[in-house]
């Protein structure tokens, strides 16, 4: 408990330090506005609804790419798991996958799908899907053999085995994949909007940066940071529960 308290103190102290440095002018307003001002600006843009359209687009795209990469990644993982030869061939490629800076493919998607949500979702799915595939393979690998044998003894059908034994046993590992897919979808969508796009929170931040409009820029940055932190905390709580169920 005292660790938690200490952590809160550290974070609050850092924010206060930045606040102080901004207020006394060590950090000029052209570089960074004070954290309290960021909160005020965030309140203003939410109240005025100026960026509502951008915010909706971004979070819709993140949701779409998360769902797509989880479903497709799970399906691909199951197929690869059931074909050991294919799996042997593909595994070295999966291990190197995240070494590739995926964003260099974003321009290719732009020429294929044009500037818009389709290419943004495509790059986010490309970034997120492999973590789901890996998590699915890992989860299926770790199903204890005794559970499957028990299913055989009860003469369960293939479908029943999958739904009642394999899926619940693999869930904690699958959830790790879901968590990573959410994180990668956030990164994929916002970074693509940032680099080249005509709408969305990432675009709005880049636009405000080009106009030296620090008020809006920092308010939107704060919005993204808050949303990501809340979503992560929520996913971590579920994760911890699933992990503790596994130890039982």
């Amino acid at each position: 408990m005292s660790e938690k308290l200490l952590r809160v103190i550290v974070v609050v102290a850092m924010i206060l330090l930045v606040e102080l440095l901004c207020r006394i002018g060590v950090i000029p307003r052209t570089v960074m506005i004070a954290p309290s001002d960021m909160v005020v600006e965030l309140g203003k843009i939410i109240a005025s609804g100026q960026f509502s359209a951008d915010i909706t687009i971004t979070f819709t795209n993140i949701a779409i790419s998360t769902v797509l990469s989880v479903l497709l990644g799970f399906a691909a993982g199951v197929v690869i798991y059931s074909l050991p030869g294919l799996r042997n061939a593909i595994e070295p490629l999966l291990a190197s996958y995240y070494a590739v800076p995926t964003f260099v493919f974003y321009p290719i998607f732009i020429t294929l799908f044009g500037v818009g949500s389709a290419s943004i979702v495509a790059i986010a799915v490309l970034l997120a899907i492999v973590s789901m595939v890996t998590a699915t393979l890992n989860g299926l690998d770790r199903i204890p053999r005794v559970l499957r044998k028990t299913g055989q003894i009860y003469r369960m059908s293939r479908v029943k085995t999958a739904l009642l034994i394999e899926l619940p046993a693999a869930t904690p590992y699958l959830f790790t994949g879901v968590k990573l897919s959410v994180a990668y979808s956030f990164i994929g969508v916002i970074a693509s909007e940032f680099i080249l796009s005509g709408a969305g929170v990432g675009y709005a931040i880049a636009y405000a940066y080009n106009l030296f409009d620090n008020g809006h820029m920092y308010a939107l940055m704060l919005l993204v940071l808050i949303v990501v932190t809340v979503v992560n905390t929520f996913l971590n709580v579920i994760d911890r529960r699933l992990q503790s169920r596994r130890q039982r």
Partner: protein, 251 residues
Amino acid sequence: MTSLATSPMPRSAGTLLVLLAIVLLWQGLHLLVGASSLASPLQTVTKLAALLMTGEFWLNISETMRAFVAAFAISLFGGIALGIVLGLRKLAGNVAEPILTTLYSIPKVVLYPLVLLCFGLGISAKIAFGVMHGLIPITLFSMNAIRQMKPVYRRTSQVMRLSPSQNAFTVIMPAILPEIISGVRLGFSLTLLGVLIGEMFASQRGLGFLLTGAINLGQIDTIMAIALLLTVFAVTCNVLMMRVDRRLTHR
């Protein structure tokens, strides 16, 4: 693919077949959507060869590499040092770990304007952005490596009264090296990604800048040539690090 599943083929041959399938798929897609949307594998390789002949391309490569090497060196040494300190001091480690994990999962690209405002347009902003991506994973892996180190090592070094630097270089480093390599692999790719995103958003030189320029001019073959070059580079380095990793863990 079913024949692949049944025949007892050596692992690397299967991987080559998959790579061949990817190239065929690429060629098929190229025929489907047309040369103006997607260059063929052959066109891409020819373009890359042509680009590699020009001196200007090498200037951009060296610019990106300079930023990348500096960022990676800072992430590597900073991350390992920070990880060792946080791993040895339990309270500091426990307090810092959730903060670091949260920082790790935020899309750092939203913070790039802040980096640009602090460092200005130029190589230092790219380096800083690369470090932001690479430092935290290396720190987290090194920290966990130390925490999972067998306590007997630490006790032995205490009994032998090793000095802190002797302890660090002769006991701790060799013990945690295999885990650190995994962190370094992740840090390597993320640092490269950070430097490239930095260049794509705001830069005057470098491969990321060439990419954005090619998007604006609609030069699909240049885009794909650069993407191919970066992919080959990243995958080669990753495979080399995995080899080192395997050798260390099977020691």
